[in-house]
Amino acid sequence: MASLTMVEALNLALHQAMEADDRVVLLGEDVAQTGGVFRVTAGLLDRFGESRIVDTPLAEAGIVGSAIGMSLYGLLPIVEIQFDVFVYPGFEQIVTHAARYAWRSKGESPASIVIRIPYGGGVRAPELHSDSPEALFAHVPGLKVVCPTTPSDARDMLLAAIEDPDPVVFMEPKRIYRAGREEVSEELPFEIGNGHGAPAELLSTARVAREGTDLAIITYGATVPLSVQAADELASDRGIQTKVLDLRSLYPFDIEAICSAASECGRVLVVHEAPRHAGLGAEVSSLIHERVMLDLHAPVMRVTGFDVPFPQFANEDDYLPSVARIKQGANKVLDW
């Protein structure tokens, strides 16, 4: 056990995966020599050498596309996208190829790649370094999209994503990167490279971040800790017990966890940082209404980013769902 930040936990996972399975390779901009602009890949070059970790030319379609080729040949490539939106030049490769190679080959030659994307706001970064594009990927069939929120989850889910035969878009909320530490076991969560893949639940189940029965806040990524804080304040403010569900998997959703949280609490608030229109909150909301509307005492409501470009950073706190906005949303649902 070691007390790790999310960055350190991801780094641990990469070390462990590369150690355990020599098919694992890593490529991206500035990942090798400096260990990545966020230092997630630090130390890997010294340990595994240039044939396993590659500083690529500056071209995201080339990076994702060549990773797909490597995977076809039998490697297990991990791609690092430097910041959220810089994935867009590689979007075509992800949507028309990574997402479709399995289907196009009768399920026999999936693009077994992991695309790591540090994303989201709250780090006082210049334009186009703070976006939340996860819904774009979750809408594309053939991808798995996941997002860890704690250091332990980051470690275990990254290992599972690497081991998973399907392409996984791995969203890393950069606001959480160094926000806190957690004890992370150094033991592997499952046996790597034995051909059995990772336990399915690591990439498909939600996590209860806080227990409660009066209200469910369903969220993921950097708004999970904020929602927990809001829940704590709701408890002391007005004695409300709020369950916080950390989705973890953005496609597929953990439909049982979502519906049972909704049924149990009868009141649901969905929170995310991405813009609202056609965001993942809409999907959560629709699913709940479709399935368990009769268990609800109020409509599912949403607190999200606005339908505007992510602002210049001096105003990012206005854009980002805050504890105050989450509480206001919760109160609306509670008092409906």
Binding site: V25, S51, T56, P57, A59, A61, G62, V64, G65, S66, A67, I68, G69, M70, S71, L72, Y73, G74, L75, P77, P89, E92, Q93, T96, H97, Y101, A102, W103, R104, S105, K106, G107, E108, S109, P110, S112, P141, G142, K144, D164, P165, D166, G197, A200, S204, Y251, P252, I255
Partner: protein
């Protein structure tokens, strides 16, 4: 920049044949010929099937068989090749069932219309232009990383050289010295767009220079020259000297696809001037002049191809339309998410429209949006 065009096969009169390149014996030449005939037979039959409404829109490659068979014949079996839609049937020279390719054009998916690239070291038929080039680079890098003497080759058109992915692939390959051959079939047209609206460079081959990579030009209607250029490039690749860009200069004699009408945008009398240069007749004459091929042999090869293709068509037509569950098959290698079960349930709970719908004949006009 003037650049020599590699050409082996003459025209039987003023232009003499060059010597057969080393490494290509009589048996090889005949096998290569067999491949050409097979591709030609597949293609002509596909066009007929489309006209009869038995498959959908089809991307014709008539005339480009030499760029395909010649290049492929230069590859080792362990090398990987990546076709675009224009080389759609290349897999049949590597063990893919031709019925599978016909089924693909008939709109069948799943086990009927797809093959596993890994079984044949042949990429899936690539539809979005130039996007398969980085895949070839990735395979080459991986092979090199594993210490395998394996190279990769990707075919693409003149139009493809305009896409960013072309550039990124060439750049990655040259930086990585990846054993890749970029095989550009410059047929001078991208649907209705002529070469001079596509690029200002006089040749495609000279685009290699920006990557410190050799670029060579070859007569795309000469299968032996295509073989030679590819073999040289593969030798270089395997020797660790990195990628090569090959430009196979030719002309798109056929329409872009069965739904395209070239009269809308080009002078078809020019096309007719190119037609006699097409590779099958050229190769036939060449082999005859070499004394390798006589009429009986030719007839036997053609008959064999015809039979094989006829059997494939029959096989394809014996397939029944895949069931509804094919929508969900193989989307994930790791298993089916719950959404798929619900989708299938929804589908099964309503009556299905029709058991098998004929594709319906598609008029030979671009009005139907017949690009691929």
């Amino acid at each position: 920049m003037a650049m020599e065009i590699i050409r082996i096969i003459g025209n039987g009169s003023e232009v003499p044949d060059a010597p057969v390149p080393e490494g290509l014996g009589g048996k090889d030449l005949l096998e290569l010929y067999r491949w050409l005939i097979l591709l030609r037979t597949f293609d002509e039959r596909a066009v007929a099937l489309q006209r009869q409404g038995r498959i959908g829109t089809y991307a014709i490659y008539w005339g480009e068989e030499g760029t395909q068979a010649g290049a492929l014949y230069a590859c080792e079996e362990t090398d990987w090749v990546f076709p675009s839609y224009r080389q759609n049937s290349i897999g049949i020279l590597r063990g893919v069932n031709p019925a599978t390719i016909y089924a693909w054009w008939r709109g069948y998916g799943g086990k009927l219309g797809f093959y596993n690239p890994r079984d044949h070291r042949t990429g899936p038929i690539c539809v979005p232009i130039a996007t398969h080039l980085p895949h070839a680079v990735g395979v080459a890098w991986a092979a090199k990383q594993r210490g395998d003497s394996v190279a990769s080759l990707a075919w693409f058109g003149d139009g493809a050289t305009s896409e960013g992915d072309f550039h990124e692939a060439l750049n990655f390959a040259s930086v990585w010295k990846a054993p890749t051959v970029f095989f550009c079939v410059n047929n001078q047209w991208a649907i209705s767009t002529p070469y001079h609206k596509q690029t200002a460079s006089q040749t495609i081959a000279e685009k290699a220079s920006g990557y410190n990579m050799p670029g060579v030009r070859v007569d795309g209607f000469d299968p032996v020259a295509c073989w030679k250029a590819t073999r040289d490039a593969l030798d270089r690749a395997r020797a660790g000297e990195g990628p090569t860009l090959i430009e196979a200069y030719c002309y798109r004699i056929a329409p872009h696809g069965t739904a395209d009408d070239p009269r809308l945008y080009r002078d078809e009398s020019v096309t007719e001037r190119w037609r006699p240069l097409e590779p099958v007749n050229r190769m036939t004459g060449f082999l005859q002049r070499l004394g390798i091929l006589d009429e009986d042999k030719e007839a036997a090869i053609r008959a064999e191809a015809k039979e094989l293709i006829a059997a494939s068509v029959k096989e394809m037509e014996s397939y029944t339309q895949p069931g509804q569950e094919v929508l969900f098959d193989g989307v994930y290698a790791s298993g089916r998410p719950w959404t798929f079960d619900e989708g299938l349930e929804e589908l099964r709970s309503v009556e299905r429209a029709a058991e098998v719908r004929p594709v319906g004949p598609v008029p030979a006009s671009s009005e139907q949006g017949g690009d691929v």
